[in-house]
């Protein structure tokens, strides 16, 4: 008799659901993909329904339903924080009480309302937030044993934990607690540099290579004390999140010479340098924690989760420093991954199921292709119903060749193929593809496809067997969670001194060719890499292989299939809508190809530029 567990994360940001069977991941998805509301924090009813459909089971057949967080422990932290804030904590107390005591502690009500059952346990199970993160990192990893590090903004109290995993057992040994949080430091800096908290943190990471870490000492001396063992504590006098509705305060402003950057205003040298500085601090802390984890556990392998584990620049540095032999990072390292971790933790720690590793030594995340897939019959029905001109190429090699040729001709391809990714990155299931050799691909894709700020780089997807031909990376990177330098022999010299001749004209900087794959080479020659293995994604691997046959380059630009501010597309309808709203040339829906110049005028009922707020 199989054991089925449904895991749920909700109510903070990036709600999600995941379903596991006998320790195997069956399905997982973020709610935002169904509701089309980015980072949707609401109860993930759609994601849950998808998971149950994918599993072909009824809710009453679930052996357990589990929530990834302990709301009473969170309430303990919030209440004590409000008490520390005194009268200034009044507003936060009211908001927090309504949220926690009004909604979050009653999560079982939401489950019953959504699926009519709490499974065979007839009660909702709860994990601890960082235990769920730890489980999401360890159980799907390819390691029998590993050190575990989780770092985020905050769970109930923990902002960072360290432990060890062995077979089916997870033990967390030490932690750092709120308000001392690396994630909150990064979010505070995100806010200060004019990006959105809870979603803009990776923009700060992408901005860092433009600057110099001139504020590093100031941050280390005033904002955060870091001990030799990697542990840290903030000086909370500089932060507003303890007693106000924003991350920073006037002291923080004064430290960096003025008020925060207004969103959408010009990015100046100050923000670039602050980004570089906080990134340097973050990397050092992550490294220090990792070294301490090595000392503490003696493990050869390390697994990571928590939102800070999405800082792929820090991950890349961690790998290069060789503190551990191997590293594995949960692709859905943020709160969405808590749903998966909670479900796996229940299977192994509650039901005591043994943990089975794959015989081929690969991880159990299934390429993180865990979401909905659409059959050719469904796509046929979709294009027929709407009368969309298309061609169908059933032969996979012929299809891959045509797609690759389109990319090689400098055109942009929207690509929907197979099961949707779980986690924030597009990995060749819901991707926009382009030619990395062209200097103008980055600016074209930014301005005409993504409608976004120009400084943000694109990422390469490279044939796994060719990774060392392009990048200084000695490991696979299937989930785009590692940043590594482009190989030196591929780089072109860039005069950084000329950058500021035109003031902060970032477009002129980003358009400089920095390598023979300029569209995916950041200003410091780094790249955020996805290595594509034929076992994980044979279709996508085939496309890149054909691109290599045509051009000699086994790498393409891979960016997420969405416009700015919109979640990554899920369905063929989402994909077609995005395709028609942008300057993409070709849309691939499984084995159907739709050319832009053949499509009828698109009647866009939605004023999408205001619907999808600028991100």
């Amino acid at each position: 008799m199989s054991n089925w567990v449904l895991g749920i994360s909700a109510f903070y940001h990036d709600s999600a659901a995941a379903i596991v069977k006998d320790g195997e991941i069956v399905a997982a998805a973020q709610e935002e993909r169904f509701t089309r509301k980015k980072h949707d924090p609401r109860f993930p009813a759609h994601a849950i329904n998808y998971c149950l459909e994918a599993a072909f089971i009824e809710p009453t057949e679930l052996d357990a339903v589990v929530f990834y967080d302990n709301p009473l422990l969170t309430w303990d932290r919030v209440l004590k924080n409000c008490m520390m804030a005194g009268p200034r904590g009044r507003d936060q107390f009211e908001k927090a009480t309504r949220s926690l005591l009004g909604t979050k502690v009653w999560v079982a009500d939401h489950v019953r309302q959504a699926i009519g059952s709490l499974g065979k346990q007839d009660k909702l199970l709860f994990t601890e937030h960082h235990m769920a993160h730890a489980a999401s990192a360890f159980y799907p990893s390819p390691f029998r044993t590993a050190a575990i590090v989780t770092i985020d903004g905050v769970g109930e109290w923990s902002t960072m934990t360290m432990g060890v995993g062995d077979s089916a057992r997870i033990e967390l040994i030490k932690e750092i607690d709120y308000p001392h949080s690396l994630g909150l430091l990064y979010s505070a800096t995100t806010y200060y540099c004019g990006f959105k908290v809870n979603s803009g943190e990776y923009k700060l990471m992408g901005l860092a290579p433009y600057g110099e870490p001139v504020y590093y000492n100031r941050i280390r001396e005033q904002l955060i004390d870091v001990k030799p063992d990697g542990s840290f504590r903030l000086n909370t006098e500089y932060f507003g999140y303890l007693d106000s509705g924003i991350m920073t305060n006037e002291r923080f402003d004064a430290l960096f010479g003025g008020p925060p950057r207004k969103p959408e205003s010009a990015i100046t040298r100050r923000e670039m340098d602050i980004a570089a500085s906080v990134q340097k601090v973050t990397e050092e802390i992550v490294l220090g924690i990792a070294r301490n984890a090595k000392t503490e556990t003696g493990a050869e392998n390390l697994v990571l989760a928590g939102g800070v584990a999405l800082n792929c620049v820090a991950n890349g540095r961690l790998l290069r420093e060789r503190v551990f032999d191997r590293i594995w990072i949960q692709p859905a390292a943020g709160d969405a991954g808590g749903a998966l971790g909670a479900a796996l933790l229940v299977q192994h720690a509650y039901f005591k199921l043994p943990r089975k590793l794959r015989e081929d030594g690969r991880d159990a995340q299934k390429g993180s292709y865990l979401g909905p897939v659409y059959s050719s019959a469904e796509i046929q029905a979709f294009v027929n119903r709407h009368g969309y001109p298309h061609e169908r190429i059933s032969d996979p090699e012929e299809r891959a060749h045509k797609i690759a040729q389109t990319i090689a001709d400098g055109k942009i391809v929207g690509y929907l193929s197979g099961r949707m990714e779980y986690g924030p990155r597009s990995l060749g299931a819901r991707s926009i593809l382009g030619d990395p050799r062209r200097v103008d691909t980055q600016s074209t894709m930014n301005l005409k496809i993504k409608f976004r700020e120009s400084f943000r780089p694109f990422a390469p997807s490279v044939l796994a067997e060719d990774i060392r031909d392009y990048f200084e990376l000695d490991a696979e990177s299937p989930y785009m969670l590692l940043v590594a330098p482009v190989r030196e022999d591929r780089r072109l010299p860039v005069n950084r001194g000329s950058w500021w001749v035109n003031g902060s004209d970032m477009l002129s900087i980003v358009n400089q060719a920095r390598s023979d794959i300029p569209a995916v080479t950041h200003v410091d020659y780094s790249a955020r890499i996805q290595s594509v293995h034929p076992r994980d994604n044979p279709e996508f691997h085939r496309v890149i292989r054909h691109f290599k046959m045509l051009t000699g380059f086994g790498v393409v630009v891979n960016t997420s299939f969405n416009v700015r501010g919109e979640p990554i597309v899920c369905s063929p309808q989402d994909a077609y809508r995005c395709f028609m709203r942008t300057d993409m040339d070709l849309l691939v829906l499984e084995d159907f190809l739709l050319w832009k110049d053949q499509q009828p005028p698109f009647e866009d009922a939605e004023n999408w530029r205001s619907t999808y707020e600028l991100d």
Binding site: F11, P41, L72, M84, G86, H180, V197, D225, Y350
Partner: protein, 120 residues
């Protein structure tokens, strides 16, 4: 939800904060008590804390039980008693009452704050 309900909730929240929580907070502050450190400590060798609870046992997953208002009161009171916060434990009954009053399975806002990390 009618406006009277909303007013009652508002009043209950305000009353609890002003009449029960704030006075306790101020008493504790006068006693020099802090729930957590607010600043670095140059003398400390490390800021890591050893966890007391290192693994999740089966009973930990069900510790919140069916989580009604009675369980909320009992669990909070027990937790705070164990932590030595006896005065706080006595507020558990009021907190449970607030939870019952605020209880809603209505859909929350889809908006995620742009200004502050979502912590509750």
């Amino acid at each position: 939800m009618n406006s009277t309900d909303e007013e009652n909730k508002q009043t209950a929240l305000r009353d609890f904060f002003e009449r029960k929580l704030l006075p306790l907070a101020e008493r504790l502050k006068l006693e020099g008590h802090k729930f957590f450190p607010m600043a670095p400590d140059a003398q400390a060798e490390s800021y890591y804390m050893r966890r007391i609870k290192r693994t999740m046992l089966p009973e930990d997953f069900t510790a919140l039980g069916s989580l009604g208002t009675e369980e909320i009161e009992v669990l909070l009171a027990r937790m705070w008693q164990e932590q030595g916060y006896h005065e706080l434990a006595r507020l558990a009954v009021d907190i449970a009452r607030l939870a019952g009053m605020l209880r809603s399975a209505e859909s929350q806002s889809a908006e995620v704050s742009e200004l502050i990390y979502v912590m509750f």
